[in-house]
């Protein structure tokens, strides 16, 4: 069946006594600084690519910094697109670090090798930015199938560069975490199991080390939805997500503790709602009107796509939620 034909997600939550879904607080401000990217990945829920022109302005970035400054929100999570290609990325990082906030960069790795970004890796290290790097598999065939020809080789080169700077080393404060996405219409493996495989194989094949690996389920929206429909996998994948609904995943969902900001400053419960234009409800929905108390009292906006985060072991920006 299609996802629209499945039991409404809100009903599934109600069935397990978890409706309405409310935030537990805001401990992560996740800022999507735009859709510009040097890659065009086949699963991208942002539909990001080199052709995109949506880029967060300095004014909106400044409002994000104001929101941080006015609160004790401990973490800024910067995503995109390739967030580093936003001209205000480094300002956002350095100002947030000066406030003592933890900063995460959701990095596609290959951006570190662009001629225009020659000093980027060192900048990240100097500012002790946590790097959350996409790498769907420890082999070239699968990685390039999802992220484009030649991306695996560049990713390995970039990981070596990060390792040389101290990222991913056991005794290092420079956190390097990897993100696994399935290369197709299936759910991710158990996080601990595939993390062990990545650790063994990346070390053995390429001498690369990292801290943790996060498994993230592909969300049936945007470019991955196009893939599902084009290949006749849509209904089966939706069935799989809905049938794998696991109430135990709900407590750890990112929407419970994250506030997502779009490139134009609109506020969302998560990056997926952002791509579906589902702004927050029950609180002012723009960063210029940021009101933490009202936002923490809101009900999270739900949709059928939420089954993507509650299937199996669960899925969020920090990986499995169980």
């Amino acid at each position: 069946m299609s996802l629209e034909q499945c039991r409404p997600f809100a009903q599934a939550l109600a069935g397990s006594g978890q409706y309405p879904l409310r935030p537990t607080g805001i401990t992560v401000l996740q800022v999507n600084v735009g859709k510009l990217c040097n890659q065009t990945c086949g699963h991208c829920h942002v539909d990001a690519g080199p052709h995109r022109t949506e880029v967060m302005s300095r004014e909106i970035a400044g409002l994000c910094l104001d929101a941080l400054r006015s609160t004790d929100i401990p973490t800024l999570d910067i995503t995109g697109g390739a967030p580093e290609l936003n001209p205000h990325f480094r300002w956002l990082v350095s100002e947030s670090r000066a406030m003592g906030r933890h900063v995460m960069d959701r990095c596609n790795l290959s951006v570190l090798l662009l001629p225009s970004q020659g000093d980027l890796a060192r900048f990240l290290a100097e500012h002790e930015v946590e790097v959350v790097a996409s790498l769907p598999y420890f082999m070239e065939e699968q990685t390039d199938a999802q992220r484009g020809r030649g991306v695996f080789a560049k990713s390995i080169q970039a990981l070596r560069l990060l390792n040389e700077l101290g990222y991913g080393q056991a005794d290092s404060g420079l956190r390097l975490n990897l993100v696994y996405n399935p290369v197709g219409a299936y759910l991710p493996p158990a996080q601990h199991a595939i993390e062990a495989d990545f650790r063994r194989e990346l070390k053995r094949r390429h001498g690369i080390v990292f801290h943790s690996l996060y498994t993230i389920t592909n969300m049936p929206i945007s470019r991955f939805l196009d893939f599902l429909v084009r290949t006749g996998n849509y209904e089966r994948y939706m069935d799989k997500l809905a049938n794998a609904y696991n109430p135990a995943t709900v407590d750890g969902l990112m929407c419970r503790y994250t506030l997502s900001v779009g490139w134009e400053g609109t506020l969302y419960d998560c990056d997926f709602n952002q791509m579906l234009n589902l702004a927050v409800s029950g609180a002012p929905a723009h960063i210029r009107d940021f009101n933490r108390a009202q936002l923490e009292g809101r009900n999270i906006v739900l949709g059928q796509h939420c089954y993507g985060c509650t299937a199996g072991a669960g899925s969020s920006c920090g990986g499995a939620t169980t």
Partner: protein, 110 residues
């Protein structure tokens, strides 16, 4: 009916328990325990299942355990090797019967 095998039937597997629910329940419970992580990992068990699926040539099982193997983190190199293991055992099982042929031939030959 266009054919005997239909992909959508895989989702209807539980219907075979309709007239023998106790037996189905026992099978389901046992099946679940078999595939739980134990001395072998879930991934290893899926690869064994994938190989056996090829040996018994069950299209439903091949479909199910191809996806299951991917969902356990296996890759096509590992899955292809598993299929070769199944094929090697099937081939070897045929070939070793060549000794029966040789025995039979020896018995009737001068």
């Amino acid at each position: 009916m266009a054919g005997y095998y239909h992909q959508e039937d895989l989702q209807r597997f539980a219907e075979v328990g309709k007239h023998a629910p106790e037996l189905w329940d026992k099978f389901s419970a046992w099946y679940g325990s078999v595939f739980a992580e134990g001395a072998l990992t879930e991934r290893e068990k899926c690869l064994i299942a994938l190989a056996v699926a090829h040996a018994v040539q069950c299209p439903y099982c091949i479909d199910a355990y191809t996806t299951a193997s991917l969902e356990k983190g296996s890759n096509l190199e590992q899955m292809s090797e598993a299929v070769h293991v199944a094929a090697a055992i099937r081939g070897g099982a045929s070939l070793i019967h060549g000794l029966q042929m040789r025995n039979a031939a020896a018995k009737v030959s001068m």
